[in-house]
Amino acid sequence: MTDAPPGIDLNADIKLDFHTVSLTESPEVEAEIRSLLHDNGLDLDEQVETFVVCREKGRIVGCAGLDRDVVKDVAVAPSLRGTAVSLRLGSVVLKLAAARGHHDLFLYCRPDTVQWFRGWAFYPLVEVPGVITLMENNPLNLPRYVETLSRERRPGTTIGGIVMNANPFTLGHRFVAESAAKVCDWLHVFVVKEEAAEFSYSDRFRLVTEGLADIANVTVHHGSRYIISRATFPGYFLKDKAAVEHGFCGIDLLMFREHIAPALGINRRYVGNEPLDATTSSYNAAMKHWLSEAPSASAPIETIVIERLTVDGAPVSASNVRALLARGDLGGVEKLVPPTTFAFLRQYQQAGR
């Protein structure tokens, strides 16, 4: 943003009208927004549910998308850069989000516009150079979370980390954790917290805890907004392979490397190889790149892929378990999950889901 010459009010002649639009309700606005985004080197994000638009003489000169607690697709017409339009737009977005109950927000922007969004009271969290930066507007949240995690730090030279959705927890998850725990001094397991899976977070977390209870050197951690959440990794929940390849998973993985792993001293990340789910498969491939090869101020983390457990010649996966369950094949389910998960699934089935 440029400064106004002294004594000149840049906003004096600009009459602006701010309002919110839902793209599904007003498709005719979509083309106009797309064109403004295009002028700013951005594409329309399909997850954005609401746009705040700013009109001058009927023409859209500014827009900002809101996807629950994530702000994306912010653009201002070139002719109005350097005016207070951006700050007014930001104020409207923050108020709209607050009215919807979202106070602590994330924001995606191009790395070269970070300075601009500092003016919106956002702070950078992590950057995929030249592609995208994730920011948030509460500078206290991440340090607080990292501090909480660091209390769970354990001594040792080989500290492993696994992030799992466990939807639901299977013998496959168990096998990866068991293999990792055998060679690590300590293993930290995180359960994805986002409620986008068939099974609720509290059920998934409980089954992971129960399923790993007999392994002494494991801590099961609650997930957070900073690990594979709608904010750090929107593509995972869309199951959108393109989004994964687009560098979005770089944000999630660099977040892990730069903030979460250092808190716990994690220097190895374990994953099961993924023959079935395309999204998870691309994520695993990207993992090696972002955790160790990509330039970063933080130490590299070794990615270790564990060959997936097979039962009767077929790889064990949570998606298989869900498919068997949908067919009512409890016998098939029982072969793929530990007894703790099976007891839960039997009840779940009987309760009619």
């Binding site: 700050l87 919106w120 009271a121 500078p139």
Partner: protein, 97 residues
Amino acid sequence: MEIVKNAIAGTLESSDVLVKVSPSQDGTVTLHIQSEVIKQFGKQIRATVMQTLEALSVSAATIVVSDKGALDCVIRARVQAAVLRAADAQDLDWNVL
């Protein structure tokens, strides 16, 4: 006054300040200030926010302040508004404010 929910007041525009108030995590006041004039007026902004909280009897809260060069009276007004919203206050004693 007890902070029971999240609330914001103010704007991002020049000469204003945006104040976010949320419940305390540890029973104390945690205050974070970002300001374009932090070097010149950081201490004074902090003092103004703390005095306003004291006048409202707020002893536990998380406050995030994004200042764009607001005058003290503006800072006081924005902190008051955010706190009153976050405290769900109904009966107000305007004399103490």
